[in-house]
């Protein structure tokens, strides 16, 4: 006798793998423990959660820590050479601004390696990006002439009546 056809299960969620199930359970336990009235248990739960996050970062790493260190060293040496060249071949202010840009770019690239090797969390990586963005904005030459200054300059150029 043949088995009746099974109804097709539409909209079925993707089966969660077992390690993800285990991870969910552990995180649920830790969340419950964080709500504990016992402060020692709460701090132990926070510590366990942090440790777990660090472990995850290391497991999820896309590149090995050794490779990240080598790449970061190459970037640092390259940045130092570029800074030296910028200071030697450009006038003072431009050279100094180039050095700032080179250092910011080097820090961002090293942060990318640190992120992929599991030494930097996504939150801290985003903080680095925001910081770098802020620094580069402050170097923007168009921003140095602020709106009141432009208005004042325009006023000076306009012929005065009377």
């Amino acid at each position: 006798m043949t088995k009746p056809a099974q109804p097709r299960r539409s909209g079925r969620s993707v089966p969660q793998d077992l390690s993800a199930q285990a991870d969910d359970q552990i995180m649920d336990y830790l969340r419950l423990a964080e709500a504990s009235s016992n402060e020692a248990i709460t701090s132990a739960a926070v510590e366990l959660a942090k440790e777990r996050q660090r472990q995850h970062q290391k497991v999820d790493a896309k590149i090995s820590p050794q490779l990240a260190v080598i790449l970061a060293t190459v970037i640092a040496v390259g940045a130092a050479s570029a800074c030296w060249y910028a200071l030697v071949s450009h006038p003072d202010r431009l050279g100094f601004e180039l050095v700032i840009v080179i250092v910011i770019i080097a820090i961002v690239v090293i942060s990318v390696y640190a992120l992929f090797s599991g030494h930097l969390s996504q939150t801290n990586f985003m903080a680095v990006i925001h910081w770098a963005g802020g620094c580069l904005k402050s170097l923007n030459p168009l921003k140095t002439a602020t709106a009141p200054e432009i208005t004042a300059a325009a006023d000076d150029k306009t012929p005065k009546a009377g």
């Binding site: 793998d17 359970q25 336990y29 016992n38 020692a40 248990i41 366990l48």
Partner: protein, 128 residues
């Protein structure tokens, strides 16, 4: 009889000493009754804690080397214990289910976090 590792765990967490004592008494009682695994949910019910608190205390004992964390994998259909593994990576190498005579999809399996006495503690207990 409390082990040296347990005493060290209490010394490291003096503010948890009282509750760790209660937990250890529970573990010993369960062990004497032939229970191999200590599940946070059951420990919590016995000690009147929430599940998370029991889990954290069991983890403390695991870190001290008194217990060892394990993952029990059950067949959802029959409830049979298919495997006990020590690490999360091993969870993805679950054997054939003899009860159903099938290789289950992960959605047909259930994981339970449990703790067992560490090998050294087990041997000491057996010798006693």
């Amino acid at each position: 009889m409390p082990s040296r590792k347990f005493e060290l765990a209490k010394q490291e967490n003096p503010e948890l000493a009282e509750v760790l004592d209660r937990l250890m008494a529970y573990v010993e009682l369960q062990s004497e009754n032939g229970e191999k695994f200590f599940v946070p949910k059951l420990a919590a019910a016995a000690l009147r804690l929430n599940d998370g608190e029991a889990y954290v205390l069991l983890e403390k004992l695991a870190k001290a080397g008194v217990l060892r964390r394990a993952f029990n994998v059950y067949c959802k259909r029959t409830g049979a214990l298919l495997a006990t593994v020590q690490t999360e990576h091993e969870l993805n190498e679950i054997p054939h289910c003899d009860e159903c005579d099938a290789h289950h999809d992960t959605s047909d399996l259930r994981v339970e976090i449990a703790f067992e006495l560490s090998e050294q503690n087990d041997l000491t207990r057996q010798a006693a």
